[in-house]
């Protein structure tokens, strides 16, 4: 008897084809649209990532869970790892938005950023999962908001007239002295050539040199960071007027070169939750100070779970306490 891979079932083949067509046309396959439309019409069970406490709060505020929705984009980096991240997340955001519209939702809440920790060449999957919700008495939104906060926080924000509306990404990289001319965007920006800066840096980092800040490297690194933050602001400006809960990832890499001072690559990614807040609005609730009599736990100290764990591991690498 010979082992043979099972022949693909015809319906599986049809589904695969439907996905391919959908991705190509920026749409969804019909079976997904049907499921979500059914959920919107109240057929079948609703699905929510909310805890019972959150469900209670959602009910008192007229928020109804509809369906779990997601957006995935597996993206291979071509020329730029850094910009690939921004593009990958944008694509995933677009796709989760499509599913939310299909579910007739007003918002997707509890959106989490995920990735599989695989090492398949230069690529990464960018995934967003969340719960599509409807607000009682409102028509379905043509542009549902993508909120990275769970229901508990969503309600608190809405009461203070703040709407979490989406995710913004800022990503930049630069070379300080590169073998590849196409990457030389930094050279001369501050009135000096990168070669002079590289030689100064090389001199300052030899074994005999004493205490000193590496000014050229700092200026270079700061410029990248500022540019990434400017990107973040620009990306946020089209959706709201503020960004909360940043996550940052930065790397400065040295590249040794033959008969030349080493070159440096800096890359920086910032991701945050965009909010649409009325400026100077008052917080409607009174705050009462309580002392919890339980040991070890206090509601004031209870850390909320991080919403984006994607960069956590890398960001904390090599980083020491103070």
């Amino acid at each position: 008897m010979t082992l043979r891979p099972p022949a693909p079932r015809p319906e599986a083949e049809a589904r695969r084809h439907a996905w391919a067509v959908a991705l190509e046309h920026n749409g969804l396959p019909p079976f997904v649209t049907d499921r979500l439309a059914g959920a919107a019409a109240g057929q079948g069970a609703w699905v929510a990532t909310a805890t019972p406490a959150e469900l209670l709060l959602m009910k008192t505020h007229g928020i109804r869970p509809v369906a779990a929705v997601s957006g995935t984009c597996w993206y291979a980096y071509g020329r730029s790892w850094t910009e690939g991240h921004a593009q990958g997340w944008h694509e995933a955001l677009k796709r989760i938005g499509l599913e939310a519209v299909a579910a007739g939702a007003n918002a997707v809440i509890d959106v989490r950023m995920r990735t599989l920790r695989h090492r398949i060449r230069a690529s990464m999957d960018f995934t967003l999962v969340g719960t599509a919700v409807k607000v009682d008495g409102l028509p379905p939104s043509p542009h549902p908001v993508i909120a990275t906060v769970p229901a508990l926080e969503l309600v608190r924000l809405l009461e203070a007239d703040i709407v979490p509306v989406g995710i913004a990404v800022g990503a930049r990289y630069e070379w300080l002295g590169s073998s590849w001319a196409g990457d030389r965007r930094w050279a001369g920006a501050a009135g000096w050539t990168d070669r002079a800066a590289l030689i100064r840096t090389q001199r300052a980092t030899n074994v005999f040199s004493g205490n000193q800040p590496l000014t050229d490297l700092m200026d270079f690194w700061n410029a990248i960071r500022r540019a990434a933050h400017a990107d973040l602001r620009a990306a946020a400006a089209s959706q709201g007027n503020g960004v909360l809960a940043h996550t940052q990832f930065g790397q400065l890499i040295r590249q040794e070169r033959d008969k030349q001072p080493p070159a440096y690559l800096g890359r920086h990614i910032v991701i945050g939750t965009v909010v649409d807040a009325k400026p100077n609005a008052a917080v409607p609730h009174d705050i009462e100070q309580v002392v919890d009599m339980r040991d070890a736990v206090s509601p004031l100290r209870g850390g909320s779970v991080s919403r984006h764990a994607v960069y956590e591991g890398d960001a904390m690498d090599e980083e020491g306490a103070i």
Partner: protein, 272 residues
């Protein structure tokens, strides 16, 4: 709550997709959590932007004798100066955006894998300004104040009648002497205190604390809250330790009387 329901009309419009206007001018950025954001607002402040300062620093070399317990002042100076530079850059960014001060400052040290003598110091915090109807305050010399307090701590500190002034710190890198051969042999199999180690740790910690306290006094602070002492070895040899003291220097808010202090309620929550 209003009679239109718990969620304001303005927010509902956004959820219905009826209002989608971006705000091309004035986007604030901050790494606040939702709770921090709400409490900072409640305290009468608005975040305006994330302030970051970083300093990439090359550490000099210092030799310490095998059997001497001494402060490595080259490293102490380096560790202090690099942090101060990072903080200064952060404060400069805050000044440029017109902030009253910075809260939630996190100070980290990052080792760069390609050179053990280079450390990157990063200070990140959120610049805030006082909202209308609040008189606001600043740090020493009219510069933005800095503090490592979270949004929750910031609100509570103000309720307690104090305001943050400046982050203060002190650093001391110490070389702990190795014990001599004869002393080691003499104590084989016995329970003894390694006095020279005890003394070295005491001394190093004391120096770091003294430096922090001096800095607070010079800034004109009344006291320091949240003082903490970190021990760290940033990839150095085993007998070299850094003691780093950090805290938030605070000042009394004028006109705040003991009657203004809230009386906290005791609760026992059942959802543990």
């Amino acid at each position: 709550m209003t009679d239109t329901g718990p969620v304001p009309e303005h927010a509902l419009k956004r959820l219905a997709g009826l209002r989608r206007a971006g705000h091309p001018d004035g986007v604030f950025t901050s790494d606040f959590s939702v709770n921090e954001f709400l409490l900072v607002r409640k305290a009468g402040f608005e975040p305006i932007g994330l302030c970051v300062g970083s300093c990439i620093y090359h550490l000099g070399f210092q030799f310490a004798g095998w059997s001497s317990s001494v402060e490595l002042d080259v490293l102490s100076t380096a560790m202090y100066e690099a942090r101060a530079l990072a903080m200064e850059r952060m404060r400069q960014e805050a000044k440029e955006m017109g902030a009253d001060g910075i809260v939630g400052v996190r100070l980290t040290v990052k080792r760069l894998e390609w050179d053990s003598k280079i450390l990157e110091f990063v200070a990140i915090g959120t610049g805030i300004v006082h909202a209308q109807g609040h008189q606001g305050f600043k740090g020493p010399r009219g510069e933005p104040f800095t503090s490592a307090l979270s949004g929750q701590d910031f609100w509570t500190l103000l309720q307690a009648g104090h305001r943050p002034l400046e982050m203060v710190m002190g650093s001391c890198v110490f070389h702990v002497a190795r014990r001599g051969m004869i002393a080691t042999l003499g104590s084989v199999g016995q329970n003894v205190e390694l006095t020279n180690f005890s003394v070295a740790l005491y001394e190093a910690r004391e120096i770091a604390m003294e430096r922090m306290q001096l800095e607070a006094t010079q800034a004109g602070a009344e006291g320091v809250v949240g003082a903490d002492l970190h021990e760290g070895s940033h990839g150095w040899s085993t007998h070299v330790i850094e003691f780093f003291a950090i805290g938030a220097a605070v000042l009394r808010i004028e006109g705040h009387t003991p009657e203004d202090l809230p009386d906290p309620k005791l609760v026992l929550s059942v959802n543990s």
